[in-house]
Each structure stands twice: as C-alpha cells, then as structure tokens.
C-alpha cells in the first residue's frame, strides 16, 4: 500500500463547472482519461503514477479552460 502511494505524483481533478468538453486531456493522457458519450472527460483513475507525470502536466497545461488540475500528493 505504501509503495503505491510513493509512486503517485499527484491527483487529477476536473472542475466540472469550468470543463467544456474540449477533450484535449483525453488525447494527451489516454491511460487515465477517457471521454464519455457527450464529450466530457471521465477520470478512470485520479492517481497519477510517476511514469505519467510529464504527460499529466502537459494535459493540464493543454486544457483550453484550465479545468484540469493536478494536486501534488504531500
């Protein structure tokens, strides 16, 4: 259990009010984000493993409305 926590870089959160279903996040981080039937992102897992940290940050930066946020685990 502790192992998994150490290998997590942070938690992804989507602000559902700001999110406008652009879908860039799912294109850039398909391992963790998929699109529902209406174009909005579903976070399959909020925890971002270290291997995907750079991709997660890129997805956060790419969101046209800054709805995706990565909160670092303490």
């Amino acid at each position: 259990m502790k192992r998994t926590v150490e290998r997590t870089v942070g938690l992804l959160v989507v602000d559902p009010i700001v999110c406008d279903g652009h879908g860039l996040c799912a294109e850039l981080l398909p391992e963790l984000i998929e699109i529902d039937d209406w174009g909005y992102p579903i976070l399959r897992s909020a925890a971002v493993p270290r291997e995907l940290a750079a991709y997660a940050r890129r997805a956060v930066a790419a969101c046209p409305v800054l709805a995706l946020k990565l909160t670092p685990t303490e």
């Binding site: 559902p16 279903g21 039937d37 579903i42």
Partner: protein, 408 residues
Amino acid sequence: MTFEARLLAGPAFGAGMEPYAAHRARLGQLPPPRPELIDTLVASGLLGRGGAGFPVGRKWQAVESRSQADARILVNGAEAEPLSAKDRALMHSRPHLVLDGALLAAGVLGAREIVLYVGARHIDARRSLQRAIAERGRLRVPVRIVLAPDAYVAGEESAAVHFVNAGDARPTVTPPRPFESGIDGSPTLVQNVESLVHVALIARGGDAWYRSLGRGETRGTALVTVSGAPYGGVREIELGTRVGEVAAVSGVAPGSAHAVLLGGYFGRWLTREQAWAVPLDPQALRAAGATFGAGVISFLPADQCGVAATATVLEYMAAQSAAQCGPCVFGLRSIADTTMALATNSAVVHDLDRLERWTGQINGRGACRHPDGAVAMLMSAMAAFGPDFASHARGRGCEVAAALRPAA
C-alpha cells in the same frame, strides 16, 4: 404507531403559528447556549433531516472549530423537494422552535448572524417567521430572511450559500464546503429546519430523552411526508416504524399501492413486497437498497406504471439541472428521454443497455449530487420494476393498466 408526539405536539398544525407566549408556556424558557450542547447532540445521535443524514453534532463541531466569532447560521428552509412538506409545516406552525434552534446554534458556534433561507413559494411559512421574529423583539444575533428561488437545486447547501453571497442559487464546486468557507467566506452551518427543531427540543430535554423513542439503532422521531394515499401529509414517526404501518395509517388499502418512492425524487423505489416490512431507519433503509432522504414516502397506486412514474420524475430532474456541468445536462437529458421512450412503448432495441451504460457514466461527475440522485432513483426503479422495464422495451407495456401517453 402511537407515541407521545414531539415535533407535532401542541396546537394543531396548519391552523397558524404558535405565538411566543404559548410557545414559552408549553415548552419553558429556552436554555442558554452552552458549548456542552455540542456533546449532547453528538450523544443523541441526531442525524440531519435535509436529505444527507449527516450527524448534526459532528457538523456543529466542524463549524465550531473554525469559528472565530464570525460564523454564520443558514437555516435551510428552501424545501425544494416537491414531495416534502415537513419543513414548511414547521416554519408555518412552529416558527419559534425554528428560531430557538437557530439561536442555540448561533450562541454555541459564535455566529454573527442567522439567515433564514425560505423557499419563495412558502408564503405562509415566511409570514409566520416574520411575525415570530417581531414577537421576539431584540435578539442577540441579527436574523434576516432570504427567499430561496423556486428551483430544485436551490436547496443544495453550496447553492444556498452561493445565493446568499452572490444572488446565484447554483451549486459551486466543493471543497471548500460551507463549514469551512460559506457566507462572506466565514464558517457557515447550513442546517435543515427540522434538524434545528430537534436541537431546540434536545436542548430542553437532553440526549437521553431524545433517545428514549425509536425502534432500532437510530433513535428518536422524525417527520415524514406521505403522498399517494388518502390520508397523506406530514406525520411524525418513531424512527424504525415500518413502511407498512405508515401505509395503513395513511389509508393505503391492501393491494392499492404496488410500490413506494422513499426519500424524495433523488430517493429509491421499492416494491410493495420489499418495502412494507422495512423499518424507516436510515441504516435499515440503506441495507435494503433505499434511503431515508428527506423523509418522503410516496406510494405509487396500483394502476400507475412504475416505468412511467420514473420517466416523469427523470424529466423533472433533467429540467431542474443547474445547467453548469456537461455530464448532468446531457446525461440526465439522455436517461430521461430514453426512459420516456420506454414508458410510451416507443423504445428502440438496446435502450436498456444504454441506460445501464449511462448510469455508470453520470455518477459523481457533476459539481453537486443532483445527477447522482437522479441516477440512483433510476437504478432503483430498474431493480424494482425490472420485468416492467423489460416488457416496455419489447414495446408491450406492462401489466399495469394505465400506460403513459406521450407527454404533450
């Protein structure tokens, strides 16, 4: 079902408010607010009556630990759930009990003001509260009435705070929750009207008195709103009373109701076979796949189709979305349209599969729990009316005589 009434005790409800003098004569002076009241509330096990059922004592602890004499009390009397009438009944007929509870909260939590958030439609309730405030004269904490807009989600706690702060009764993203940052950014206690009435009585009677009634694990009494029955309306029950007992007392003849919606539009359906023996106790209801919610008990007459009832409720829930979050707006629209198609026997193949798929996609993806409630209600309907959903999907309607005509 007979016991000594607590919330409904005193002069008849609906005849007007109980005036201050009569209130004091009947119940005695309100005890001064003391920090020990929080421990008493925790010991009583009182659960919130707004629908979420969160322990009242713990909520007070959360606000108290953050309050620096700047807390706010928001009395949630929006009662936007159409199937519920208990809160407006209490505000109309026992406004002084409501004020008592609010004043106790304000004193114990170090609050600077009390906001009575009253549904704009509940005119009698508002008038009673206004008269009660006037009867009290000078109060240690300012009290003001804010009228809640006529929308389903206006009663949600973040929406209530948002409206008081900015005139916009739409839910906001949480965290932060109101107990952390609410009205004007201060720690705010958002508490249901009925919960505060219980507090006012517990402050006088003590936690042992509160716990002296009740049939199961969860103690005390609660108000329920019964509909779909000859003698419906607001009733006080001991927690743990069985649904069947309430049915009998409300005049529901055996066989005249085939299902019941418990909790509210956001609640759960149970068939008669499942429901009648279930105790109206939050824990027992959860175990039975239902919920206590806002104390709504709505019986579905035997000649009304469960699929149709579900479809009309979903239509309403879709129309009441705050229109902020895509999954809620499009998701509720999709499940409402599809369930309506099923109800009117105009469904297409795979519609049941699509419903299942969508219920999985919509949950937890809005800013508030509105879509979650609608989805949970639908899923309970699909479980309770499974055979009916299946035969509607084949275009053959169900055994229930009245099928829904396509909505005008």
